[in-house]
C-alpha cells in the first residue's frame, strides 16, 4: 500500500475545474473560458512540481500510489499509479498542450463553450491517467475513457462530416481495444496480477503465447498511432475535429499508441518484440513513405498535416523497434517533437481558418507579405516538422534513423535507408504547402475576405501567446536536447538491457 498524492493530483486536478464549470451558467462565456484555462494552467503547474520531484537517475517507478481496488476470485486489480522516464515527458506534454489548446478555442468555439470545456478537461484526465496507470486494468479504463470526450468533441463541435468522422474514430479504436482487453484479461488471470511492474518482474510468459499477446496489444496501439494500414480513421478525425481537438489528437492522443508499445509491448513481451521487430519496422517504413506521398497529393491543409502525422509516427515506431538506446530514446523524444510541431501546425491552420473559413490550397498564396509574423512562425514550424537541423524534429529523426540503421533486432540497414527517403519527401510536401499558402502572388482569398469586410490581419497577441511557448521548445530541443534526454535515458537504458537479455 503506497500512496503518493502528487501523481493523483496531477491526473485529477482538471476534474476540479469540471466541477466548478458545472455550477457556472452557460451564458457566462468569459467565466467559463477563464475557469477552464486556469484549471489547465494549475494542472500544468502541479505537473512541474512533479517534474521537480522526479529523479531522473532512478530507473524505477516513482511517486507510486498502489491501492487494492478489486480483489475477487483470484483477481488482483489495483489502483496503481506512478511515473518513470518513459512517461514523464508525455505527462508534461499533455499538461503543456492542454492550456494552449484551450486558449486557442477562445475565438474558435462559439457555441456551448461550457460543454466543450467540460469535455476537454475530462479528456485531459483520461490522457494523464493513461500515462500514469501501472495496472493493466486501470490503464484500460483510462484508455477507453479518453474515447468518450474526444468522440463528443469531434461529433458536436466538428466540421460538416463530423458524425461520420466521430463514429469512424470510435469504431476503429474500439475494434483494437477489444483485442487488447482480451489480452489483458488473459494476463491478469493467468499471472495472477494486473500490475505491470509485477508482470515484468515475473516474466516467464512462453514465447509462443507472447507472440499472441503482443499482437493483441499491438493492434490496439497500432490503430491509435496510427500505423499503416490502420490509419484511415485519422484524416477524417483530424479534418473534422475543431482546432483544439486536432491539437490534442495529434499532440497527445496518438502518442498513447506509441507509448503503449514502449510501456507494454517491449518490456512485457521482449521475445515477441524481438521476433516482430522486422515486421514492425517494415510497417513503419511503409507508413513513412506512404504517408509522405499521400500528403503531397492533398489540397486541404489539415488533411495534409494529418497524413504527414502517419509519416512522422512511422519514424517513432521505427525508432522504438530498433530496440536499442538511440532508437528508443529518439522515438520517445520524437513523440514529444511531433506533439509540438504538429500541434503548432494545427493551431496555425486553425488561426488562418478562423479568418478565411477555407483550407483549400488553391485560394491561398502570397500571405507572407500580408502576414509576416504568421509567415515566419509557420516557416519555423514547417522546418521543424521536416527535420531541419537545429530544430527539434531533426534530433528525433536523426537518432531514430541512426538507431534503426545499426539495429540488431531489425537486422538490416535497408529499413533506415529507405526511411531516410522520407526526409526528402517531407521537404517536398511541407515546402509545397508553405509555398501554396505563403509564397507566390496573392491568392484569391485575400480579396474574398477583404470584400466581406474582414481583411486578413497578422497574428493577435492571444494567438502569439498560444504559439510562442511551442516555438521555445522547438528551438530548445533542437539546440540543447540534453535535459530532455536526461529524463528518459536511464529508464530506456534499463529497458534496453531487458531486451538485450532476451536477445541472448
Amino acid at each position: 500500500m503506497d500512496f503518493e498524492l502528487l501523481p493523483n493530483l496531477v491526473t485529477f486536478s482538471p476534474l476540479l475545474g469540471v466541477l466548478i464549470l458545472f455550477f457556472i451558467k452557460p451564458e457566462k462565456k468569459e467565466l467559463v473560458r477563464w475557469v477552464s484555462l486556469l484549471t489547465a494552467l494549475v494542472t500544468f503547474g502541479i505537473s512541474l512540481v512533479l517534474l521537480g520531484r522526479f529523479d531522473a537517475s532512478n530507473t524505477d517507478l516513482q511517486m507510486v500510489t498502489n491501492l487494492t481496488w478489486i480483489k475477487v476470485a483470484g483477481w488482483n486489480i489495483s489502483y496503481y499509479m506512478g511515473v518513470d522516464g518513459l512517461s514523464i515527458l508525455l505527462i508534461l506534454l499533455t499538461t503543456f498542450l492542454t492550456p494552449i489548446a484551450i486558449l486557442s478555442t477562445w475565438s474558435a468555439i462559439e457555441e456551448r463553450e461550457k460543454d466543450f470545456n467540460i469535455f476537454f478537461l475530462m479528456l485531459e484526465v483520461g490522457m494523464l491517467g493513461v500515462f500514469m496507470a501501472q495496472d493493466l486494468f486501470l490503464f484500460y479504463v483510462f484508455w477507453e475513457f479518453t474515447l468518450v470526450p474526444m468522440y463528443f468533441l469531434i461529433g458536436i463541435w466538428g466540421g460538416p462530416e463530423r458524425i461520420y468522422a466521430s463514429i469512424k474514430f470510435f469504431l476503429y479504436t474500439m475494434a483494437g481495444s477489444l483485442l487488447m482487453l482480451l489480452a489483458i484479461l488473459w494476463l491478469g488471470i493467468n499471472q495472477g496480477t494486473f500490475a505491470v511492474p509485477d508482470l515484468i518482474a515475473m516474466g516467464g510468459i512462453p514465447a509462443g503465447i507472447q507472440n499472441w499477446l503482443f499482437i493483441a496489444f499491438a493492434v490496439a496501439f497500432a490503430i491509435k498511432v496510427p500505423m499503416w494500414p490502420l490509419h484511415s480513421w485519422l484524416p477524417d478525425a483530424h479534418v473534422q475535429a475543431p482546432t483544439a481537438g486536432s491539437v490534442i489528437l495529434a499532440g497527445v492522443l496518438l502518442k498513447m499508441g506509441t507509448y503503449g508499445f514502449v510501456r507494454f509491448n517491449l518490456p512485457l513481451f521482449p521475445n515477441a518484440a524481438i521476433h516482430f521487430a522486422p515486421t514492425m519496422a517494415f510497417l513503419a517504413v511503409v507508413g513513412i513513405i506512404y504517408g509522405a506521398i499521400v500528403s503531397y497529393y492533398q489540397r486541404d491543409i489539415k488533411k495534409l498535416v494529418a497524413y504527414s502525422s502517419i509519416s512522422h509516427l512511422g519514424f517513432v515506431m521505427l525508432g522504438l523497434f530498433a530496440l536499442n538506446s538511440q532508437g528508443i530514446q529518439g522515438g520517445i523524444l520524437q513523440m514529444i517533437n511531433h506533439g509540438l510541431s504538429t500541434g503548432a501546425l494545427f493551431l496555425l491552420v486553425g488561426m488562418i481558418y478562423e479568418q478565411t473559413h477555407t483550407r483549400d490550397f488553391d485560394v491561398y498564396g502570397g500571405l507572407w507579405k500580408i502576414m509576416p509574423v504568421y509567415g515566419t512562425v509557420m516557416l519555423i514550424v514547417t522546418l521543424s516538422s521536416m527535420g531541419l537541423p537545429g530544430l527539434n524534429g531533426f534530433v528525433g529523426e536523426f537518432t531514430i534513423l541512426l538507431g534503426a540503421f545499426g539495429s540488431e533486432a531489425i537486422g538490416s540497414a535497408w529499413y533506415a535507408g529507405l526511411s531516410a527517403i522520407g526526409v526528402i519527401l517531407a521537404a517536398i510536401y511541407m515546402l509545397y504547402m508553405y509555398q501554396k499558402i505563403f509564397l507566390g502572388p496573392e491568392g484569391s482569398i485575400v480579396q474574398t475576405v477583404k470584400d466581406k469586410g474582414h481583411p486578413l490581419r497578422d497574428l493577435s497577441v492571444r494567438e502569439l501567446v498560444t504559439i510562442v511557448p511551442l516555438l521555445v521548445f522547438i528551438f530548445w530541443i533542437g539546440l540543447y536536447p540534453k535535459p530532455f534526454f536526461a529524463l528518459i535515458a536511464p529508464t530506456v537504458d534499463n529497458l534496453v538491457k531487458v531486451l538485450q537479455a532476451a536477445m541472448g
Partner: protein
C-alpha cells in the same frame, strides 16, 4: 559551456563561437529593431556583424600561424549523448577551416556592403521597400550557418550548417517569391527556391547514409576519431560506401552531375545572393567536405576516381551549356557549375591544395563577375526606368510602365556596347573574365593550372580527367569571350542599353577590392620554391604535400587554348557584332548541338518525364485509388462497419435481440451522412457502444472463468 581551456592559451581560439554568434546578433538586431531603422542602418548592422566575423577569422588564422598550425578544438556545449553516440557543439580551428572562414567572411562582408547599394534599388524597382530588412536578416543567418559548417568538429555539426545554408539558399532564391525573374507576378522564383531545397535534400539523404555508416563502423562522428578508426580498419567496402554516399551530398550542394539542376534556377535570387551563396561560398561546401574527409578518400582509389570523373564531366558538360545561354547570370551560373567541377575533380584526384586554391580564387573572381553582372542588370534597369519615366508627364509614364511588355534586363541580346555607359563595371568585369579564363597572371591562371597539372601528372591513375578539363577550360575562355563581346562591345541593341547608367561607389568599391583579389589572388600559392603558401598552410591539416613547380608545358597549352578560344569568340561575336533580333552565329554551324546547349540538353525536361511526373502519378494513385476509394471507403464500409454490425448481432442473440437490433439500425442510420442532428448523436451511439463493450466483456469473462 566553457571556453576556459583554450582561452587560457593566450591566443584567440576561444573566440571561435563568435563566428556564429556575431552574425546571429546582427540578424536579431535587424529582426527586432529593424522595423524602425533606416536602410543604411540595417545595412550597416549586417555588414558590421559580417565584418567582425571576418576580424575573428583573421584573429583565429593569426593564432594558428603563431602556434605552427596546430589544430585546436573549442568545446561549447553538450548536444546529443546516447550510448556510444557522443555529439557536442565543439568548434574546430585548423588551417583548412581557417581558409574557409576567411574566404566566407571576407567575401561575405564585401557582398554585404555591395548589397546595401544593390538592394536599395532592387526593392524600389520591385516596389516593396519593406523587404530590404528581410534580405539582410537572411544574409546574416547565412553567414552564421556557413560558419557552423566550416568550423564544426564532427560530421553532424557540419551537417547542421550544411542544411542551414540550404535553408538560407531556399529563402534567398525565393526572396522575390511573388515574382518571376522578369519581375512579373508569378510563383516561379518560389519554385526555384523549392527546387534548390529538394535537390539538396536528395544530396543530404546521401550524406545522412554516409553519417550512419560512419557511426556504426567507426563508432564516432568526430573527425579525428573517424579517421583514426578508418586507418586502423581500412575496410575498402565500408569506406567506399561512406565516401560514395558522401559524394551524393557533394553533387547536391556543389551542383555536380546529376543534381546540379537547381543551381541555374537559383539565379532567381537577387544578384548578391548569386555571388555569395551560389558562387563563392555555399556551393563550395561539397569541395570542403571532400577535403575534410581526405583521410577517407585517400584509402579508396576507385571512389576517388568516381569523384574526379564526376567533377570532370560536370566541368565539361556545364561549360557546353554556358556557351548557349543568353542570360548574363545563367552564363555565370553554368560557369560556376563547371568551375566547381574543376574543384571536385581536383579533390577527387587527391589534389586537395589545388582544389582549395581554386576554391579561393574562384570565390574572388566569380563573386566579382556576379556582382558586376548585378551592376550591369541594375544599370539596365535604371536605363529602363529612365525611359519609362522619360515620356510625357508622370501619370502617363506610370500607366505606360504597367502596360508594357516584360523587359529582361539580364538578357545579353538586349545589351551591347555597355563599356561606354558603364566604364567602371566594364573594367571590373574584364578583370573577372581574364581570371576565369585563366589568363596569365590573373588568379585563375595559377589555380586552374595547378589542377590541370595534377590531372596531367596523375593521368595514369585518373585517365580522362586531364582531357575533359582541358576542353572545359577552352570552352570557359570561349563563353566568357562571347559574353564580353555581346555585353560590352558592338552597338547597343536596345534603347535601354543606350540609357544604361553606372552604379554608385557603395557597389563599385567592394568590386574593386574583389578585382584586386582576382588579379593578385594567385599569390596565395605560386608554383615557385618557397611560395607554396597555401599548400604549406593546408599541410598542417591534410598532411604535407610537395608543392608542384610550374610546368611550362601544361601552362603553355592551357594558355594557348584560352587565347584561341577568345580569338574564336572574337571572330564570331566581336568582329561582326550581333544585331538586334539576329540569331546566335553558332546556331547555324552547330545545328542541333547548339539547340541542345541552348536548351540545357533538355535535362530538366528529362527529369520531369522520368522522375517528377511518375511521382505525381504515384501520389495521385496512392491518394485517390488506394487510400481513399479502397481503404478509406471500401474497407471501412464493407469490412469494419459491416463486421461491427455482425459482431453486435452475434453478441446480441443470447441477450436481447430487440435492443441490439434497434441499436444496429440506429447505427446504420447515423452513419448515413445526412443524419446530423446533435440530439440523435447524443441519443444512442455511445450508450450502444458501452453496452456492446459490456456484453463483450461479460462474454469473454464468462468464457475465461468457466472454461
Amino acid at each position: 559551456m566553457n571556453f576556459s581551456e583554450t582561452a587560457n592559451t593566450g591566443y584567440f581560439f576561444g573566440l571561435v563561437p563568435l563566428l556564429v554568434f556575431l552574425p546571429l546578433i546582427g540578424m536579431l538586431i535587424n529582426m527586432i529593431f529593424g522595423g524602425k531603422m533606416k536602410e543604411w542602418q540595417i545595412g550597416t548592422v549586417a555588414s558590421v556583424a559580417s565584418g567582425l566575423t571576418f576580424v575573428v577569422a583573421v584573429l583565429l588564422a593569426y593564432s594558428l600561424s603563431a602556434t605552427h598550425g596546430h589544430m585546436q578544438t573549442v568545446y561549447f556545449a553538450e548536444w546529443i549523448h546516447i550510448g556510444d553516440l557522443q555529439l557536442d557543439w565543439t568548434f574546430r580551428v585548423d588551417t583548412l577551416s581557417s581558409v574557409m572562414m576567411l574566404v566566407v567572411s571576407g567575401v561575405g562582408t564585401l557582398i554585404h556592403i555591395y548589397a546595401i547599394g544593390y538592394m536599395h534599388e532592387d526593392v524600389r524597382f520591385k516596389d516593396d521597400i519593406r523587404r530590404f530588412r528581410r534580405f539582410f536578416v537572411f544574409l546574416n543567418l547565412f553567414i552564421a550557418m556557413m560558419m557552423i559548417l566550416v568550423s564544426g568538429d564532427s560530421y553532424l555539426m557540419l551537417f547542421v550548417g550544411w542544411e542551414g545554408v540550404g535553408l538560407c539558399s531556399f529563402l534567398l532564391i525565393g526572396f522575390w517569391y511573388d515574382f518571376d525573374t522578369l519581375g512579373q507576378k508569378s510563383t516561379k522564383n518560389a519554385e526555384a527556391g523549392k527546387k534548390a531545397f529538394i535537390a539538396n535534400r536528395v544530396g543530404d539523404f546521401g550524406f545522412l547514409l554516409a553519417i550512419f555508416t560512419t557511426f556504426w563502423h567507426f563508432g564516432s562522428l568526430q573527425f579525428d576519431a573517424v579517421f583514426k578508426a578508418a586507418e586502423a580498419h581500412p575496410d575498402p567496402v565500408v569506406i567506399s560506401a561512406i565516401t560514395l554516399f558522401m559524394l551524393i551530398g557533394v553533387t547536391g550542394k556543389s551542383a555536380q552531375v546529376p543534381l546540379y539542376v537547381w543551381l541555374p534556377d537559383a539565379m532567381a535570387g537577387p544578384t548578391p545572393v548569386s555571388a555569395l551563396i551560389h558562387a563563392a561560398t555555399m556551393v563550395t561546401a561539397g569541395v570542403y567536405l571532400v577535403v575534410r574527409s581526405a583521410p577517407l578518400y585517400n584509402l579508396v582509389h576507385e571512389a576517388s576516381y568516381i569523384v574526379a570523373m564526376i567533377g570532370a564531366v560536370t566541368a565539361l558538360f556545364a561549360a557546353t551549356i554556358a556557351v548557349g545561354q543568353y542570360d548574363i547570370k545563367k552564363v555565370l551560373a553554368y560557369s560556376t557549375i563547371s568551375q566547381l567541377g574543376f574543384m571536385v575533380a581536383a579533390v577527387g584526384m587527391g589534389a586537395y591544395v589545388a582544389g582549395v586554391f581554386h576554391l579561393a580564387t574562384h570565390a574572388f573572381f566569380k563573386a566579382l563577375l556576379f556582382l558586376s553582372a548585378g551592376s550591369i542588370i541594375l544599370g539596365m534597369e535604371r536605363g529602363h526606368h529612365h525611359l519609362a519615366h522619360g515620356h510625357g508627364d508622370h501619370d502617363d509614364a506610370d500607366a505606360h510602365h504597367d502596360e508594357e511588355e516584360a523587359f529582361d534586363p539580364g538578357d545579353m541580346r538586349n545589351m551591347g556596347n555597355l563599356r561606354k555607359q558603364m566604364p567602371v563595371t566594364f573594367w571590373l568585369y574584364m578583370a573577372g573574365t581574364l581570371a576565369l579564363a585563366g589568363i596569365f597572371p590573373f588568379a585563375g591562371f595559377w589555380s586552374k593550372d595547378e589542377i590541370l597539372l595534377d590531372a596531367k601528372l596523375h593521368a595514369e591513375h585518373f585517365p580522362g580527367v586531364y582531357l575533359l578539363l582541358s576542353i572545359a577550360a577552352f570552352l570557359t575562355a570561349f563563353y566568357m569571350g562571347r559574353q564580353i563581346w555581346m555585353v560590352f562591345f558592338g552597338k547597343e541593341r536596345t534603347e535601354v542599353a543606350e540609357h544604361a547608367q553606372e552604379s554608385p561607389p557603395v557597389m563599385t568599391v567592394p568590386l574593386m577590392i574583389l578585382a584586386g583579389l582576382a588579379i593578385l589572388g594567385g599569390a596565395l600559392n605560386l608554383p615557385f620554391e618557397g611560395f607554396h603558401n597555401l599548400g604549406h598552410w593546408l599541410g598542417y591539416t591534410i598532411g604535407e604535400t610537395h608543392g608542384l613547380p610550374l610546368d611550362l608545358g601544361v601552362a603553355g597549352i592551357s594558355t594557348i587554348l584560352a587565347l584561341m578560344a577568345i580569338g574564336i569568340s572574337w571572330l564570331l561575336y566581336g568582329k561582326n557584332p550581333l544585331k538586334a533580333g539576329q540569331a546566335d552565329p553558332l546556331k547555324k554551324p552547330l545545328g542541333f548541338l547548339f539547340t541542345g546547349m541552348e536548351n540545357k540538353w533538355f535535362v530538366d525536361e528529362g527529369y520531369g518525364a522520368v522522375i517528377i511526373q511518375p511521382f505525381e502519378k504515384l501520389a495521385k494513385f496512392l491518394s485517390i485509388d488506394v487510400d481513399w476509394n479502397f481503404w478509406h471507403d471500401w474497407f471501412h464500409n464493407s469490412v469494419l462497419y459491416a463486421g461491427f454490425q455482425g459482431l453486435a448481432k452475434f453478441l446480441s442473440d443470447p441477450v436481447d435481440m430487440g435492443i441490439i437490433n434497434a441499436i444496429a439500425d440506429k447505427l446504420a442510420d447515423m452513419t448515413k451522412r445526412s443524419s446530423e442532428s446533435l440530439g440523435r448523436l447524443q441519443n444512442g451511439f455511445v450508450r450502444s457502444y458501452a453496452l456492446s463493450v459490456l456484453i463483450g466483456v461479460v462474454a469473454i469473462l464468462g468464457y475465461l472463468l468457466f472454461k
